[in-house]
Subunit: 361 residues, 2 copies
Amino acid sequence: MRIDGVHHRSIAPTDDGEAVRIIDQTRLPHALVFGRLETLEESADAIASMRVRGAPLIGATAAYGLWLGLRADPSDGGLGSAYERLLATRPTAVNLRWALDAVRDVVSKVAPERRSETAFAEAGRICDEDVAMNRAIGEHGLALIRTAFEAAGGRRPVNILTHCNAGWLATVDFGTALAPIYLAHDAGIPIHVWVDETRPRNQGALTALELRWHGVPHTVVVDNAGGHLMQRGEVDLCIVGTDRTTAEGDVCNKIGTYLKAVAARDCGVPFYVALPHPTLDWSVADGREIPIEDRGPGEVVRVVGAEGSVGLYPEGTVASNPAFDVTPARLVTALITDRGVCSASRDGLLTLFPERGETAA
Amino acid sequence: MRIDGVHHRSIAPTDDGEAVRIIDQTRLPHALVFGRLETLEESADAIASMRVRGAPLIGATAAYGLWLGLRADPSDGGLGSAYERLLATRPTAVNLRWALDAVRDVVSKVAPERRSETAFAEAGRICDEDVAMNRAIGEHGLALIRTAFEAAGGRRPVNILTHCNAGWLATVDFGTALAPIYLAHDAGIPIHVWVDETRPRNQGALTALELRWHGVPHTVVVDNAGGHLMQRGEVDLCIVGTDRTTAEGDVCNKIGTYLKAVAARDCGVPFYVALPHPTLDWSVADGREIPIEDRGPGEVVRVVGAEGSVGLYPEGTVASNPAFDVTPARLVTALITDRGVCSASRDGLLTLFPERGETAA
C-alpha cells in the first residue's frame, strides 16, 4: 500500500539484504518509524512487544526470524531453538506456527550451509503468498459489498463496521478485513467505515490511519458504540479479521469481537470474517480450546498517546487484560477466505478446502 | 459513604448555607477536589461539564441550581428561565426534569419572597429521598445477590459485572447499581466486581475508586472484555444503572450497556438494572424515542489521565460520540427499584406502581 504516494510492505528485507525492515507499529499513528531486525532475538522481541502485530504479519516476521537465527547457527540445534524461541512469543495467532512449520520443513531437508539462504527464500515466498491471498480475499469480499450497495438502492455509502486492525499493517500488504474495503473504494463504490477504537491498545488508530492514507471515509467510535449504531440501522455489515479460526468455524479475534457479533445477530446485521487459509486451525474444532493471551494489566491502566502515556487509575488498581475472545460460528454470517466465501462450519469450509475432508477420512 | 473514614454525600449545602458543595468528578480518580456552586450558571455548568454526573445526582444538582437561581431572581420570569437553563444542560437523564418539576411545583405556589427558602428545603428533601430510595434498592438487590451466592454453593465470591458508575458518586449517596453490592459486602457475602472501563470518559475509574474506598474486591477490564468473561462463566450476574427507563421497561444507559445485555442473554447471565422511581419515564413506551446525547468527538480522540491528556489520533480524525444506548426490555432480567424487583415490562412495573395504571385508565 502507499504512504504519501510511496509503496510499502509492512515487512521486507532491507535493500542491503542483511536484515529485515519493519514499521514500528507501537509508534503509529503518531510517528512513522522504521525498524531493522538483524537477529533472531530482535525478531522475537518485535513480535512479543507488538512492534509488529496482526496474525499474518506475525507469521511473516517469524519466518524471517528463523532466517536470522539460521544465519547465526544453521545446525539442527540452532534450528530447533530458534523455532521454539519464536513460537513462544505469542500464543493465540496460529499463523505463527504455520509460518515456522513452513520454513522448518523446507530448511530441515537441506544441509546446514544452505539453510540460511533457503529460509530467506521461503520467508519471501510466504510474504508473496500472503499478498496474493489477501488480494483474493479482497475480490471475494468486494462482491459482498457490491451486493450490499445495490441492496441499499445504490444511492448512499455502504456503512461497514470493523474492529481492531486487519489491514495491510496486520499483514504483509493489502490486509484481510480491509482488503474488500480497499477494492470496493477503488471500484467506485462509496464506503464509510465505522472504526472501533479497540481498547486496550487502540489498534483502531492504525485502521483509521490506513483508511486516511487510502482516502476511504471513516469515523472512529469507542468500542461501546457499535451496538447502538447497529440498532439505529447505521451499519450495513461488519467485517473483521481473525487470529485463529477452527475447523468448525469458531473465530478467535481481538477481544470485543464477540460483543459486536452477538449485537449484529440481534440487529440482523451480517457479520463477516476475512481470513487467509493459514489462519485456519484444522486441529481444533471448538474455539474454547484456543489459548487466550493475557497481556497483563499495564495496557489497561495506562494509555499511550501522542504526548506520551498517562495513568488512568490510582496506583495498585487491579486490572485484567485478556487479548482475544472467541465468536462462536453460529454468529458468523460467512467466512471470506482466499478461496472464496463459505459458511462458518466444517461443511462450509470443506466446500473450499476439500483436501481437508480427504485427510480426515 | 466514607472516604478515609469521613462520611460524605456527593452533594450537600455548604456549612455556611450559602452555596452547594460538590465533588469535582472530572478530577477523580486522581485528585479529590471539592467544588462550590454559588449561582444558577455555575450549577448548569457543573452538570454540562460533567463535574457532577449520574442521573440522580444531576437531578439533585438541578434542584439546588433552581434554589440558587431563585435566590437571585425569585420572580415567575426568573423561575421560568432558571428551569429552562437547567433543563437544557443534558438531554438524556429524565431525573433532571423530574427534580426541576418537583421544585417548580412547590415554589410556584408560594410568594416570590419565600421561593428561595422553599426551593432550598425541597432540594434537601429530594436529596434525602434519593438516599432512602437507594438504600431500598440495595436491600432488594441484596436478596438477588444472596440467592446467587447460595446457588453457587456459597463457597466462592459472587462475580458481578457493572458498566459505568452507578455508585454513590452518581447519586446523592449509596448508589443504585452499587447499593446492593455495598450491602452484600457489609452482610459478609464475598463479592468480586468486574469494572468496565467505560470509554470514552472512563467512569469505571470512579466505580473502582468507590469499591476501593469501601473495601470491595474488584478488577478493572476494558469494555471489550465483558462478553469473554461471560462466555467463560466468570460473571454470575450484571447490575447496571440507568438514565431513563420507559413505561415498557426499555433501559437507556451509558453507551455500551446494550452490548453487555445482549451478551448476557447469549450466555445465560442475569442482567439487572437498578433504578429509583424518578428514573422511570412513564410518558415514553419505546426506548428508541429517548434523545441520545452526542457529546462530540473531543472525548473520543483525547484521553485524560493522571498526568494530563494525550491525543490518540492524528489531527483531523473524524470521531462520533453517542453517550447512551437503549437496551430493549426483552434483554433485561429484572428491574431493581426502590419499591422492589419486577420484570422489565409495563405489567411488571404496574405491580409496583399500581397508581400509574389508574392514571392511564
